[in-house]
């Protein structure tokens, strides 16, 4: 907490902190009859991925009201963008959402390319598609393991990490790092595919395809899991649109909205792939959507590897980027939904304003409405089904 004395006149009236811990709890106004219990789920709670705190008002085990409290891992990336040159901000992109870092790299780099009108060579586009889709699979695998861990099963996360390690090894070949990638550059990619990349990736695709039935036997068909996910967190299309939810959460409610199709970018129009959707609107539907997305991404990677051309991986462009005045938005389909970066330039070496639109931000904002009247264990199941990455929400 910032030092009290140094802060300017506090706009919010001083609140009696002693009893209620802090102002969020105080403003949560407990029910006067005293029947209900105010509980803090988080920020050190095992099942809120990262540091999310949810204020719950419980009547027994049923949630009467829920209010997520954010900001525990807020780093002010947007301010950092304004104080760094365009190229120096790329590493921040890997730290915004470390589960699908390449999508964020792509969004930022794409926005600047769109602003400056830079061309990206063919081979670089193919490398971007391959690595971004592999990164999406690794993000879905980690979501799958963590979701099961929230529901109490300890084994699936180990199987998921076994497969995910193979992806990280493959991505390390072409980016050099495992989690926070910064290998996309303006106008291309920084490293080319090493010779053993494609055989290793084909081998990986074969092993993952052979293991997916095991996931299905162990978890998807499991009766206990069905009980924990079916009929939980019903998100109808109207609510989804009111909150601006995107990604698997939206596709679980029947709307096939995917930025790769709705706002085509790069070379995604050259591949045939299905946008998996379910119509049950509950946590199980979102679960199915993500698992079938793994299949789709595998087929995209295969198609991309079949038709990858030779050629340069870095377009020609000035070493120091000075985009013309104006602003540009670039949207990318991340594992959690639509990632949009808006870059505004005043012609100088540093951006004037950068806006990072995180899918988790909108997806989490509908949690309060979804969790109304459910059990605490259902709230955990709903949070898990939204696939949240808190650093991306807090930015």
């Amino acid at each position: 907490m910032r030092d009290q004395t140094a802060a300017a006149a506090a706009p919010t009236p001083p609140v009696d902190m002693s009893f209620w811990g802090d102002s969020y709890a105080a403003r949560f106004e407990p029910d006067p009859s005293g029947e209900r219990m105010i509980v803090n789920m988080g920020p050190q709670h095992p099942s809120t991925h990262g540091v999310l705190r949810v204020l719950l008002e419980l009547d027994g085990e049923y949630i009467v009201r829920a209010e997520p409290v954010l900001g525990y891992i807020h780093r002010m990336h947007e301010w950092m963008a304004e104080n760094r040159t365009y190229a120096q901000f790329i590493p921040n992109m890997g730290r915004v959402d470390y589960l699908h870092a390449l999508a964020w790299n792509w969004a930022y780099v794409g926005a600047v390319e769109r602003l400056t009108g830079m061309e990206v060579p063919e081979r670089a586009e193919y490398i971007r598609v391959i690595t971004c889709e592999l990164n999406r699979i690794s993000s879905h695998l980690l979501w799958w393991g963590a979701y099961l861990l929230d529901l109490g099963a300890f084994t699936p996360i180990m199987y998921a990490f076994d497969d995910r390690e193979r992806i990280l090894d493959i991505l390390q070949m072409v980016t050099g790092s495992r989690l926070t990638y910064s290998s996309f550059t303006f106008g291309g990619v920084s490293m080319d595919l090493p010779p053993q990349f494609i055989p290793k990736t084909r081998e990986f695709i074969a092993t993952l395809r052979s293991r997916l039935p095991m996931y299905k036997d162990l978890v998807t068909d499991n009766g206990i899991l069905r009980g924990r996910c079916e009929g939980i967190g019903i998100l109808d299309l109207d609510t989804a649109r009111r909150y601006g939810a995107t990604g698997p959460c939206l596709r679980g409610s029947g709307q096939a909205y995917d930025v790769r199709r709705a706002e085509p970018y790069s070379i995604y129009d050259r591949f045939e792939y299905r946008i998996p959707t379910e119509s049950a609107c509950d946590a199980m539907a979102r679960y199915y959507v993500r698992l079938s997305e793994i299949d789709e991404s595998l087929s995209i990677v295969e198609q991309a590897m079949d038709s990858i051309p030779e050629g340069p991986i870095q377009g020609k462009g000035p070493r120091k980027i000075r985009p013309p005045k104006g602003e540009a938005c670039f949207a990318v389909e991340g594992a959690r939904g639509k990632i949009m970066v808006m870059v505004q330039s005043d012609g100088g070496p540093m951006p004037y304003r950068v806006k990072l639109r995180a899918p988790g931000f909108s997806n989490l904002s509908l949690f309060a409405e979804l969790a109304q009247g459910t059990l605490v264990s259902d709230a955990v199941s709903i949070l898990g089904s939204l696939d949240l990455v808190i650093p991306e929400i807090d930015r």
């Binding site: 099963a153 300890f154 084994t155 180990m158 009980g227 264990s377």
Partner: protein
């Protein structure tokens, strides 16, 4: 005045039995921690504890020392007396449940022909301990955990009793030794084969009674941060841990005695048969833990009241008719 210590004197037998039981429980506590972590490891394709001692054998010992070494904290808001009574209350009664267990024909700790009733009575005490722990730690999550523990235990006592009664009908007595003797040496003579439904219900209720695997709701880490033992650290937590394992051993022992023919085995029946069956049931319970997610709380109660209890009643009625007709 000379104290002649003869084995016939029941008090001496009781004291010796209790000392033996505590040693057995403590030893088994360590062994089970090791077995559970190894089974968990191999289920997840990893080697489990490996570095402490040869193949990780000293790991449970080191864990126990760590637990003993930790500072015993008492939460300010909690109730000090209840907070520290709970672990003791959880661990001590379990020893009494071991007394009537038929380890071997000759190893009779106490002369009691209501062994089954004693075990079921004392296994109910465990829930009071969980309740005290939850309430005593003054932690909101602890209270939620305690409430769940009480509801779960009450819900699963009923089908447990019914399935055990079915066995009592078939053997005509509540004395575990008599029940074991009434089963034959060969597997098809065991009550598990004669009354499989009762065995299935018993196993489900046993797992639920000891708060294990799919039914570990009172200390659900991912929902209630740690349920009733959120505030416990060091030996407080250690005692709960040991009590859970002791309860598992009792329940597996009862399952072995009632349904799997106790110490009777096709070749040379003796204590090793009983221990083998006990560990078989234990391994099953451990195996369940590393496979299934956690059941939701209302599903847990519905399972007991709406499905297990009616089926248990039917099984009981069926057994009664079968015993009556069977003559």
């Amino acid at each position: 005045m000379s104290m002649t210590i003869s084995l016939a004197d029941p008090l001496v037998r009781l004291v010796l039995a209790l000392v033996g039981i505590f040693a057995f429980v403590a030893l088994n506590g360590l062994v089970l921690v090791y077995v559970e972590r190894k089974v968990a490891g191999f289920c997840q394709r990893r080697p489990g504890p490996l570095h402490v001692g040869p193949q990780g054998l000293l790991q449970p010992l080191v864990d126990a020392l760590k637990l003993v070494g930790k500072q015993l904290l008492t939460p300010a808001k909690g109730d000090r007396i209840l907070f520290w009574a709970a672990p003791l209350l959880a661990f001590l009664p379990v020893a009494l449940c071991f007394l009537p267990l038929p380890f071997d024909a000759s190893l009779k700790a106490i002369e009691i022909n209501l062994g089954l009733v004693l075990i079921l009575a004392f296994s109910g005490v465990n829930v009071i301990a969980l309740c005290l722990a939850g309430w005593g730690s003054g932690n909101k999550w602890g209270i939620l955990g305690a409430a769940r523990a009480v509801a779960q235990s009450v819900a699963y006592e009923v089908p447990l009793l019914l399935s055990v009664l079915a066995v009592a009908f078939m053997s005509g007595s509540l004395d575990l030794f008599v029940i074991t003797e009434s089963q034959g040496a060969w597997p098809w003579q065991w009550y598990a084969m004669k009354n499989p439904l009762a065995f299935l219900i018993f196993i489900i209720c046993a797992v639920a009674e000891t708060n294990r695997a799919p039914f570990d709701l009172p200390e659900a880490e991912s929902e209630l941060t740690a349920g009733f033992h959120t505030e416990y650290s060091g030996m407080g937590f250690g005692l709960f841990f040991l009590a859970e394992y002791a309860n598992m051993i009792v329940v597996s022992g009862v399952a072995a005695a009632l349904f799997l023919g106790g110490y009777q085995g096709p070749v040379a029946s003796g204590i090793w048969w009983f221990l083998a069956k006990l560990y078989a049931v234990l391994l099953l319970i451990i195996w369940l833990r590393w496979t299934y997610p956690r059941v939701r709380f209302d599903q847990l109660l519905n399972l007991s009241w709406k499905r297990l209890t009616p089926v248990a009643l039917l099984v009981l009625a069926g057994t009664a008719v079968a015993v009556r007709l069977g003559g």
